[in-house]
């Protein structure tokens, strides 16, 4: 277990009074409390450290052991017994000389094993034995745009367990969903925590999503743009035949109502699909074609 300087965490001097500790804890807890910093893992970690420091320093017995033994304070009773045993064989002046590296800085990022064993790995609760909900878990799930278009099931591993989840169509990039009861077991028979899954949806080379609307660009040749025609276009749910009116200008956008992205948790409701026509000009004209264009330009 890493040594943690609890005084440094609470920004206290070694001779701080109980009242100073309480005040320092409250001040820092108000800033870093996880309930006041949703989705902020850094604050959550910091709060766990503050809580642990408070648990130890606010208890006179634990504080005494911590002050005496530093990182080994949890084994204070065993160390005291050993010390007593040693004194029986050595001179009375030979005091305890172990565990004195007290000034070492705080380096560990996680809360200590002590805290973990006491509170079941996380919530930062007080030492009273009341039941509390278990720690919430967070997981990221990578999807592509086509995956997010349909409701489907996926299995993901969370803390060594396989969790099968239903992903509703229309989830947004960065969106989080909660799976109640899939977090850590509760403390003192409290209910289990929840599992929060964040969806990371990768960009699609063809379909660009903006909210529930989808945007695509389609090429149309000059002749069809001028004379009109039809084109089969691929959408997220199949092919559609689109009419191209005579004289379609470059960058003209066509809206296909209800052909966009499914609206999250709203059955049979969809955004729109916008098709932008990109008029492709002919290249490598032969002499005859050039002549025809010249005639056209003069007409």
């Amino acid at each position: 277990m890493d040594y943690i300087d609890y005084y440094k965490i609470l920004d206290l001097k070694k001779n701080a009074s109980t009242d100073d500790i309480k005040k320092a804890y409250r001040k820092l807890a108000r800033k870093h409390h996880p309930d006041l910093n949703p989705n902020n893992e850094e604050a959550n970690k910091k709060f766990q450290q503050i809580n642990e420091a408070n648990e130890v320093l606010s208890d006179p017995d634990k504080r005494k052991k911590y002050d005496k033994y530093g990182k080994d304070w949890q084994h204070a009773d065993q160390l005291d017994a050993k010390e007593q045993q040693r004194r029986q064989y050595q001179s009375p002046s030979g005091g305890y000389d172990g565990g004195s590296s007290y000034s070492g800085g705080f380096g560990g990022e996680d809360f200590s094993d002590f805290f973990s064993s006491m509170f079941g790995g996380g919530g930062g609760r007080s030492s009273r034995n009341s039941p509390f909900k278990g720690q919430d878990y967070n997981a990221d799930l990578q999807l592509n745009l086509v995956d997010a278009y349909t409701t489907h099931k996926q299995t993901l591993a969370v803390n060594g367990k396989q969790v099968r989840i239903n992903i509703p169509a229309g989830v947004e990039n960065g969106q989080k969903i909660k799976l109640a009861g899939y977090g850590a077991p509760g403390v003192n028979n409290g209910p289990p925590g929840d599992l929060y899954i964040k969806f990371n949806i990768s960009d699609h080379p063809r379909f660009k999503r903006k909210g529930n609307d989808v945007y695509i660009q389609e090429e149309v040749d000059l002749y069809t743009a001028i004379l009109g025609g039809e084109k089969i276009v691929e959408t997220l749910n199949g092919k559609v035949k689109l009419k191209i009116p005579e004289g379609t200008q470059p960058d003209t956008t066509l809206r296909l109502k209800g052909k966009g992205f499914p609206i999250y948790k709203k059955e049979d409701q969809f955004g729109d699909l916008y098709v932008k026509w990109q008029v492709k000009l002919p290249t490598n004209l032969n002499a005859e074609q050039k002549e025809l264009f010249e005639k056209l330009s003069k007409s």
Partner: protein, 98 residues
């Protein structure tokens, strides 16, 4: 226990709190209880809210008025986080097309 409901008596015993605390939270509009056959129940979402207010009350010594203000600010924070997410995705769309 009904489906996804827990009686407030059980909650009070588990958390060692007075029933008044739950009633006060409801009076402030911070949680909503369900009455079935003259018994009062909490669903799992409301239980989570109750436990959050309990933690804030216990850990930070925040009174009911303070909890009410915190709840209001957290709602605003949540709305803003959702708006940021939506704006980020919109910005990403414009980055892709340019």
């Amino acid at each position: 226990m009904e489906n996804n409901l827990i009686s407030i008596e059980d909650v009070c015993v588990h958390h060692q709190i007075q029933i008044n605390f739950i009633q006060s939270l409801e009076d402030f509009g911070l949680i909503h209880t369900t009455v079935i056959k003259k018994s009062i129940w909490l669903d799992s979402d409301e239980l989570s809210k109750l436990e959050k207010y309990l933690r804030l009350s216990h850990d930070l010594d925040i009174n009911l008025e303070g909890l009410h203000a915190v709840a209001h600010l957290l709602t605003q924070l949540n709305d803003m986080q959702e708006e940021i997410l939506s704006l980020r995705n919109e910005l990403n769309y414009f980055k892709q097309i340019n």
